[in-house]
């Protein structure tokens, strides 16, 4: 009669459970990389859009006539802190239509993301007829955490 060897035991349930836990932890860790990748992608998009919106506002300031009140009158604020609050007439909220690329002040119901844009017109301390224009654009909905993507650009316009 054939001798049956006794070393053919499989894994115990405990071993299998431990292996399973280790694999799961590893897989979950890998899965977070995917979500991180997606979040980073959205973050970069929001930074790019914010910069583009700020640039657009600065170009608009360059296009104004020197008699335009928006460039003549100094004022505004970037809403960064209590010493630099936002001021009426110096901010807007914009939405970039992903289909047409148009930037509009009309925000569709439930549209995300939208951007808040603040600007400030200051006199140059040393040069006459020169304005320092700063624009700050912040995404309304931060991708991660509580700090939203934002950018501040500054230019000088003189005449």
């Amino acid at each position: 009669m054939r001798h049956v060897e006794s070393n053919e035991a499989g894994f115990t349930i405990l071993e299998v459970a431990i292996a399973s836990v280790i694999s799961t932890v590893g897989l979950v860790f890998l899965a977070t990389l995917f979500t991180l990748g997606i979040a980073q992608n959205r973050m970069v998009k929001q930074y790019t859009t914010a910069t583009s919106l700020a640039q657009q506002k600065l170009e608009e300031f360059n296009a104004y006539e020197k008699t335009d009140a928006r460039i003549v009158t100094t004022g505004g604020g970037l809403a960064k802190d209590s010493t630099d609050p936002k001021q009426t007439g110096y901010y807007d909220t914009v939405y970039v239509n992903p289909e047409t690329g148009t930037v509009t002040n009309i925000i569709p119901q439930g549209a995300t993301p939208i951007y808040d844009r603040y600007w400030k017109v200051e006199n140059d301390q040393t040069l006459n007829n020169t304005r320092i224009i700063s624009v700050r654009v912040a995404a309304r909905q931060p991708t991660v955490g509580r700090r939203s993507e934002e950018t501040t650009l500054t230019t000088v316009r003189s005449w």
């Binding site: 608009e60 360059n62 296009a63 104004y64 020197k66 335009d68 148009t102 003189s158 005449w159």
Partner: protein, 331 residues
Amino acid sequence: MRTNNQRGFSLLELTIGALLTVGLMGAIFTLVNRNQQVFLSEASTTDMNGNMRMAVDLITRDVQSAGMGLPRVNGSFSAILYKDGASGAADSILMVNGDPYAPDASVSTYTAGSTQFLSVKPPEVKVTTSGGNTTMTYVDGQGQNKSIYKSYSSDPKLYICYDDKLAKIFRLSQAGAIDGTGQLDLRYTSGSANFWSPATAFGSAIDTGDPDWPNATICMLGSLVGYRLNTTTHELERTEDLTNWFPVARGILNLQIQYRITSAINTPSSAPSNRREIRSLVVTITAETADLQPTSKNYRLTVQQFEVTPRNFNLLNNTNLSTNTEATWDF
């Protein structure tokens, strides 16, 4: 002694093994294929973004410097000509630039019959007469002497005569001369192939007329920079001579341009009738993943809108570096 435990696999075992192998291979290939698709999609998206960036960058630079070298008292020649694509079709633009170092001459009289301009000789032009031959030169940005106002046959340079809004480009039939009253005498070759409006050459519907001659200026032509969309190849094309168009970006589906003008600064329009009032351009570009069919699930589209202000147009309002609002511009 031979042992008895060298049995092979049974048919059932083999079948199960083969099925498992095929299943696993299938799963692996699906993953590899998916990976390949994602790679293709990402590479195409990067390429699309690169094309978009190239288009935005080139248009921004060219629009910002439009009108360079064509000074007017209040700014510069309104150097952007446009063609507004009907019912949503792509737009195109042409920017006219003068040679930034070549002096400009103010026209005193224009006589069509004798194809002649009489102008005030620019002080920067040096006239040398030797053995009955007159040569005219100016000093360029590198301090080199460059000849000017030679006949087109001996020096193939084009000249542009312009006022604030309208212009004519021409070829000189003979070298410039100084007449008895000390004026600069320039003669051009007649015929529409030698004396033409940039608007006509570009096929623009507006501003094809003559400049106000006694109020006009003559300058050496720099470059004509044009952009148009090739709707067959989906390439954005750029030219510097209106003859040779070179593709600068692939996968561009649409190019729409609106103009912010002084009398309606808050609402850009697509076809301003008064180019003199143009203050900025709002450009919208649509790009696609050029190497993928629209039916592919990895096909992507992107659209970007940006604004750019020509820096030379508004000098009355930008007499930079000077607090004198009545500053005169002497380039």
